[in-house]
Every structure is written in C-alpha cells, then in structure tokens.
Symmetry: C2
Subunit: 343 residues, 2 copies
C-alpha cells in the first residue's frame, strides 16, 4: 500500500508522460497508482487526451466485464456511503476486490456531496482489497456517465470483481446508473411511507432490491414495519429484472445486521439472472444503449451548437409558443437552415 | 347532418383539388366534410401534401388551443370505447362539442383494433355535436403522434371544445398521448390489484385520475374495494400534475353511474390547473417537446438512413458486442464516417 501511494505521487508529476503500454500493463497488474492515472486520463476533458484514453481502454477491453456492477441510490442522508463502507468491507472479507465509484450530477454545481471531502469510507479506502474513487467533477450528466462507464472497465481490468456505484436522486442520475449496472439497490428510511412521497416517481421501479436502512436502536421495529409496507407496494409492481422478485430488506451499517444477508441476496440474484440469460442480455442492451446514446448526443450537440441554429432557433421557438407556426413547420424551417449550411 | 354527409361524398371526389383557403374556411365554419378532408391531408404520407397541409394548419392556428384535451388509456377490453361513448354523450348533453381521436400503435401491424371497424361508438358518431375519427393508419408511433397532434388543432379550429383521445397500452403510446393532453384518464378493471401486475410500469404515474370501470351488477362491490386499494397505492405516489391529487373513482358506462361525477372531477381539475398556471405551463412545455422531438427525430432519421452508416454500423455494433472496441470509440468512428460524407 504505502509503496503504491508513493508511486502515485511520483507518477502524478509526469502523468501525461506515461506511455499507453505502461498504463495498460500497470492497470492489468493491479497497480493502484496506474489505475488512478488511467482514470484521470479517461476523465480528462482535453481533446488531446481522448485518443490516448481510447487506446488505453481498447488495450484493456479484453480484460473487462468480469465484475458484478452494483448501483446504490437513495436520498441524501440515506446512508449510502456508510452502507457502502459496511457492505464493501464484508465483500472484501469474503474474498472480493471492491471498487467504489460515484455518479454525482450535483458535483458540477455544488462542488460534490457524495464521496467528496466528507467521504465516510475511511476504513474501506485504507483496505488494500478496495479502491475508492471520488466522483468525476464537471461536465453534464451524459459526460459523467461516459466517464463512469469507462472507469468501470478500467477497474475491472485492474482485477476488481465488485464495482459499487453511489448516486443520489438528482435529475436523471438513477436512470443513468441503472443503465450501467447489473444490480440496483435502493436505500430507504423508515417513516411509514412518507419518504416515498418525497421520492421521485419511478425510482422504486428501477430497483432490484430495497433496503430499509438504519434499522438499529429505536428505529429497528419501525424499519420492520416499513419493510412490510414496501413489500405490499412491491407486490403490485412488475419486476425490473426477469425472473427476480423485488423485495424489501432491513439493514444497519452501524450494527452490521442484514449486511451479510444482502450479500446472499446479491449472490442469489446473480445466479438466477446468469442462469436465465438475463444477465448477458442486459449487458448487451446496455452496450447498445451506450453506443446509440453517444451517437444521438453527438448529432444533437453538432446541431444545437451550429452558429446559424443558435441564432435562429430562439426566434422560431418563440413563434411556436405564440401560436404563429406549428412545431412541424418550425422544425422543418430550422432543419432546412442546418442542412443548407452543412455541419 | 345529412346535407353535410352529401357534401362529404362530393368533396371526396376532388379531394386534392380543394384550395387552401376553402379548407381553412370550411374547417372554421365547422363543416364536417371539410374537417375530414383537412385531417386526411394532414395524415397523408405524400410529400407533395406536406406543404399544403402546413399552410392549412398555419392558417387555422389562431383558432386553436381552446379545447380541453383528454387522453384515455387502459388495457384492451377495459371498455375505453364504450366509456368514451358514454362520457362523450354526457359532455355533449351539458353543452360541449366533442371530437374523438385514437392513437393506436398497433394499427400499422394488426390493421387496428381501437376505433376501427368494430367501433362501439355508434350513438356518439351519429350525434351532430360530436366528431369521431378513427386512428390514422400506418407509420411509426412518432408519425402517428405528429398526425394526432395536428388533428387536435384542426378539430379545435372546427369548434370542438373537448378532444378525447383513446389509446391502448402498446409500446410507448401512453407516454406519447400524455405528452399531448391536458388530462389523462386511466381505465382499470376490478380484481384486487392483479391487473396492476399486468400493467406496464409507470403508467399509473402518468394518470391524473383512475377509473375502476364496469362498476355494475355483481362487479360493483368489487369495484369499490379495488378503488380503495388503488387509493392506498396512489397515496404513496407523487402527483403527476401540480396541485392535483390523483384519486381512483368507479364508473359504469352501462348504468351511467359515475359518469357525471367524472365530468365534475374534470371540471375541477381544469379550474385548479388554470388557476395555478400549470395548465398553460404544461401546454407550453408540450409545444417545446413537440418541436424538439421533431428535430431529434429528423437528425436521427438522416443519420441512420445514410448509406455509409447503414453499411458500416452493423459491423461496428458487432465489434462493440464482441468487446473489440468501446462504444465511445465505435461512436466516434461511425460519426466520423458520417461527417466526412456529409448528409
Ligand atoms: N443509525 C444509523 N445511522 C446511520 C447508518 N448509516 C449511516 N448513518 C448516518 O446517516 C448519516 C448520513 O450517512 P451518509 O453515509 O453520509 O449518507 P449518504 O446517503 O451517503 O449521504 P450523501 O452522500 O450526502 O447523499 C450519517 O450521519 C451517518 O452516520 C446506520 O446504519 N444507522
Ligand atoms: N359490464 C360492463 N361491460 C362493459 C362496460 N363498458 C364496456 N363493457 C364491455 O367491455 C368490452 C370491451 O369494451 P370496449 O369499449 O370495446 O373496450 P376497449 O377498451 O375500447 O377495447 P379496445 O379498443 O379493443 O382496446 C365490451 O364487450 C363492452 O360491452 C361497462 O361499463 N360495464
Ligand atoms: Mg454519500
Ligand atoms: Mg376501443
């Protein structure tokens, strides 16, 4: 560990100097400093790094895909980081190597809340079997999600076989994380369903399992009641994942109660979905969705950043709102301008 | 009525001959044959009709927007058509003019099930205060939805102040209809929640009100129980529309029980949302979404129909699935080919 930390500091100095092969080999050998460097490269906004980072990724691609990717969401304060610390340590103890990442759409605005300065994973981040990486900063959610997907690949190539991704329910972040993980955990608190009201629509339907968290002390009995209430609601919903019944569980990251059981539930989930083919199917459709969303994003980015479009669209849009022309006609107009000009 | 039917036949003969001004005036005067012709024009796939139809629409645009647009969904056999017949007649009786349209994504595949040959709105379609138009045939859901939006405008210009749009839960049709209406009704059947399981995820969350339908005879008591069960679930959900609590109601299109009350609920909904500004806000964001979705659709259509893209994309996609390259690199490749070639 200490040796690697040392390396990290040295390497940081001539970061961009490291060759592609060095990075590929370093990551493959599980060198943490090299992994950190490769992630920094992938996260870079500089277009000069884009080519290099794609070459590193492509070189590592044959060694990726062998982890279980897990998304963890919940309102701020649900205890996501604390849970990841407890759950991650347990997974390390039973033989896994765990990488922790974050998708935090708020980080570009507020400076980041999850996995940021106030990270509570002090023990896990000291563990040689774990790797904790804070949220990539800046950029749109689309950009952050691209970086996170690529960081997952890097961590897999480095030998981490469990990837835990923390995200908070801001914007579309849960949907984005759902689209890159095999298993999605929703952390909830007690309070007789009142939290559900505060929860965004549809989040419950993304989850593979629900954890009523902080089920300890005075809160334990209430958590058990809340669990039953959720199970009733869940009974009415179609499962997210073929052949898997979504259920609520209780757990405490303080007492550790329920943590081991959740690891068992996860194992069960993976076994079932690998057997019925859903695991592979979802991975494939996630790749497809990733590819197509990048294509769509780029087509839109080109269009909306075109000078003529930027100049004309607001006027045309205003005409639509004022009832001066139909959206159909307006769309034709602006697309005509774009086509004429070329891109 | 009979006179207008006569006109309809005559006009049909030289349909494409009718001038733009004739159509605009005819629709504005509430001439049903002219309205039918204008809708046929708007629904046409022929590109030579596109210009004319946009001119007609633009001429009528100042007279649109003054209706209440209502979406009605439910599984096949939920009784949507029968309900529209009963509800529509009641609305006519209390002074409204009602137009009935359909968005049926299955029609291009199966030849149409809703509002098709087996339409059950015999009485309503005879009523001079009502106008019933079957589902536009053919085309993608995106195409059908453009036509329906434009048909709504035509019906409004013709003086219909209530537009009822029937749709079945196939593909994304409910989401599409939700994005074009002010009020969204979900018709459900009794059965202690079992139907919910068969329902697609998220549909409940699109609704402004839920109707437990066919609440008559032996079924009535069960319907009341089901209503309570739904109200319990709804209690846990965030409202779709600001300031409006989604509730379940019972109704029977056979006995007529509950129909009048639903008209009252609708009135209440409109009053509240007009007062709190949500009505206008949603209309505006629907216009924006319509415009932007047409732009996006066209950008994608151009890209995916480009010969080079059609040739290269399947190979590149395959490489992604086989783990030979990352989606990021693959996207860059195919976009590079597209850009190079121009469009
Ligand atoms: N009683 C109890 N408290 C807990 C438990 N887990 C976390 N907490 C407390 O809950 C608070 C929030 O914990 P975090 O882990 O930071 O929550 P988070 O969901 O990661 O929060 P954000 O990252 O800011 O969205 C802290 O004060 C924790 O000590 C638990 O199992 N039991
Ligand atoms: N008991 C009872 N039966 C009804 C009621 N309304 C409709 N039905 C029956 O339910 C069946 C389906 O009615 P439709 O109106 O065609 O249903 P739909 O939802 O429009 O069906 P599709 O358009 O095919 O999706 C018919 O046999 C109707 O007679 C009602 O209020 N009570
Ligand atoms: Mg946190
Ligand atoms: Mg029908």
């Amino acid at each position: 560990m200490d040796e690697q930390r040392g390396k990290d500091r040295t390497a940081g100095k001539n970061r961009s100097g490291k060759g592609i092969d060095d990075l590929i080999n370093g990551v493959r050998n599980g060198n943490r400093a090299m992994l950190a460097q490769a992630i920094t490269l992938v996260e870079s906004h500089a277009s000069k790094h884009a080519e290099k980072s794609q070459n590193v990724l492509n070189g590592l691609l044959p060694y990726t895909g062998n982890s279980i990717r897990i998304g963890i969401t919940g309102v701020p304060g649900a205890g996501k980081s604390t849970f990841i610390e407890a759950f991650g340590q347990h997974l390390c103890n039973i033989g896994h190597r765990v990488a922790v990442l974050a998708v935090d759409p708020s980080s570009s605005i507020t400076g980041g809340s999850i996995l940021g300065d106030k990270t509570r994973m002090e023990q896990l981040s000291q563990d040689p079997r774990a790797f904790v990486r804070p949220s990539p900063s800046g950029g749109t959610l689309g950009g952050v999600s691209r970086k996170t997907r690529e960081t997952i690949l890097l961590c897999e190539a480095a030998g981490y076989d469990i990837i835990l991704i923390e995200t908070i329910g801001v914007g579309q972040s849960e949907v984005v994380v759902r689209s890159m993980v095999d298993y999605f955990l929703l952390l909830m608190l007690t309070g007789a369903g009142d939290e559900l009201q505060g929860m965004k629509k549809g989040v419950l339907e993304l989850a593979d399992s629900i954890v009523i968290h902080k089920a300890d002390g005075d809160n334990k009995q209430k958590a058990l009641t809340t669990k039953e209430e959720y199970n009733q609601i869940l009974h009415f919903m179609k499962p997210t994942t073929n052949g898997w019944e979504v259920r609520a569980y209780t757990a405490s990251s303080y007492s550790g109660e329920g943590i081991k059981e959740l690891a068992g539930t996860l194992e069960c989930f993976i076994e079932i979905t690998k057997k019925n083919g859903f695991f592979e199917e979802r991975r494939k459709s996630q790749l497809k969705e990733w590819l197509y969303s990048m294509i769509r994003d780029d087509l839109e980015r080109r269009f909306f950043s075109h000078p003529k479009v930027k100049k004309e669209l607001p006027l045309i849009e205003q005409n639509v709102y004022l009832g001066k022309e139909t959206p159909t006609k307006a769309a034709r107009e602006i697309l005509g301008i774009y086509k004429e000009e070329g891109d």
